[in-house]
Structure formats: C-alpha cells, structure tokens
C-alpha cells in the first residue's frame, strides 16, 4: 500500500473568498506579514501496489479537481 497526496488549489485567476476571509482574520489578529491566503483541498489516497502516475493524474484532474477553476498537485511516494 502506498500513500498518494493530491492538493487541489484554485487557479490564480479565480478569486478565493474563503482565503480572503482567513487573510482578514489574520490581519485582525496582528499577523500583518501574511500577504495572501489561498484555501485548497488536500486528499490522501491509499493505493494498492505501486501507484500508476498517469491513472492518478487522471483521477486528480477529472474528479478531485474541477479543471475549469482548479489546479492539482500530485505528490507520489518517493522511490
């Protein structure tokens, strides 16, 4: 069994009200050094055998993310 992590984040050109809300809260808490917050999703997949990168990329790009507004980052186990 191996562990594959997929991070899904909004494309840079899509505005992110939730991230902005967090940024606003940080400002009120005095954390002025934070310039920007983008909120995303983090998926952890447990996969039998050696993960097939192409298959996982397809899973990430066709179901876990909506390619109209989101980008994916695939983190395969090293090795």
């Amino acid at each position: 069994m191996s562990r594959v992590v997929v991070d899904v984040v909004l494309k840079p050109e899509i505005s992110d009200p939730q991230g902005q809300a967090v940024l606003g809260a940080l400002g009120r808490l005095g954390h002025d050094s934070v310039r920007s917050v983008r909120q995303g999703k983090h998926f952890v997949l447990e996969v039998d055998g050696t993960p097939d990168e192409a298959e996982l990329r397809e899973i990430a790009e066709t179901l876990l993310a909506n390619p109209v507004i989101e980008d994916v980052e695939l983190h395969l186990p090293r090795g």
Partner: protein
C-alpha cells in the same frame, strides 16, 4: 409531452420541479440517478438540492452518475435540459455548460426574491419571455457565484451564451452578474435562481418562473 426530473441522493427541489412541469401542462416523469433509462422523456430537468451533500464540489459527484451519461448523450443530440441551482452545478461539472459555481462572495447561504433579466429569449427554456424582460424568482444558494477565466467570460458574452443576468443587485458575487448560461444551440440552460419556486401566487413571490417550463413545450413541438 413528458419531462423527466432526475432525483439524485440529496436532491431537494425535485418535487417542486415536477409540480412546475405539471402546472405548465406537461407530464412529470421521475428519473432515478442510478438508472440508465430516460423513460422516453422529451426533456429533462436537473433539480436543486445538495446532491451528495455538496461534498467534493457542488454537483461534482452527481455529474458522474449513470443517468448523467444518458442525459449528456441526449443533450448533445438536442434534447432540452434545464439545470436549476444544484442542477446547474451538475451541468457545469458534466461539461454541458461552461464555467463553474463557487462559494458565494459573502460566504453565506442566501435566500431572497431576486430580479433577473432574460438576456436570451430564444433558448428552449426562455422563449416564453421577451428579450430583456425582467422577472422575479427566488434565489437560494451558498455556492452560486458564477466564475470563469476572464477570456472565457469574454467568449461567453461574445457568443451570447449568457441566458439570464441578475438585476437590481447581485446576490452572490457572480462575475458579470451572470445568473444562468446556455449551450451554443440553446437547448441546455442552467441557472442558479429557482423558477420552479415562482409558479403559484400562493407560494411564490410571483408566477414569473412558469415561463421556463412552458418554453420547453414550444421548443419540443417546434423541434
């Protein structure tokens, strides 16, 4: 005329959509997400609700239901499909309509009576209206903010795919006040507001929404 209303797990406004279909004078046919049987319908409504709890993304899981394969296939061959609220989200996720719906700009669920301007009165679902006509129907959503990349929005506008636009205030931060869009052939329409909640004086803010359901009767007969 038979108009199907698809029920997904978590569909909520399916009973309302079926009522609107009946009030428009058609027969409402219940369709089940897990089936592959369109039961001989002439058109399909994807109703509002929270299919699969809006988990993953609103509409994302429903868009991959067995029934949707049939709906997409028939829609590409001209069958009229209307997606309301969650149904609109499903149509975008299924690739039948451009763009995406994201969390409202103000982050709240909001339910209000909303003025809309009908931008295209030549689609299968809006031909009962005059171009530019303003109607009032309820809007209620938490993820109804229409977004697309600026270039895509320009293309949408250029090709006249914006079907309805918010008038008198934008309830959720949708880009360019877009409330609903249509496919290039005008057979598939999706919108966040709920015309099926404005079909009776007794229960709605108006009966302005009935036109969406009478439009399709004309469209199917004409086709």
């Amino acid at each position: 005329m038979r108009i199907g209303v698809v029920t997904f797990p978590g569909s909520l406004d399916d009973v309302d959509a079926a009522r609107a279909v009946r009030l428009a004078g058609a027969e409402a046919v219940a369709l089940w997400h897990a089936d592959h049987d369109l039961r001989g319908v002439d058109a399909v409504v994807l109703p509002g609700g929270f299919s699969y709890g809006d988990y993953l993304r609103a509409g994302a899981i429903a868009a991959r239901a067995p029934m949707m394969a049939d709906v997409v296939d028939r829609a590409r061959r001209g069958m009229p499909v209307l997606g309301i609220c969650n149904g609109f989200q499903v149509l975008c996720e299924a690739g039948l309509l451009p763009g995406a719906l994201t969390r409202n700009g103000h982050l709240h669920f909001r339910n209000r009576d909303q003025a809309l301007r009908v931008e295209r009165a030549d689609t299968a679902w809006t031909n009962a209206y005059e171009p530019g006509q303003e109607v009032v129907v309820p809007v209620k959503n938490g993820e109804g903010r229409y977004v697309a990349a600026p270039a895509d929005l320009d293309r949408l506008e250029g090709e006249g795919l914006v079907a309805v636009r918010y008038a008198g205030g934008n309830p959720n931060g949708s880009l360019r006040d877009i409330a609903g869009v249509s496919s290039a052939d005008g057979r598939v329409v999706g919108l966040m507001p709920h015309p099926e909640h404005a079909v009776e004086d007794l229960t709605g803010p108006s009966t302005d929404g009935l036109g969406f359901f009478t439009s399709v009767l004309t469209a199917v007969v004409a086709a």
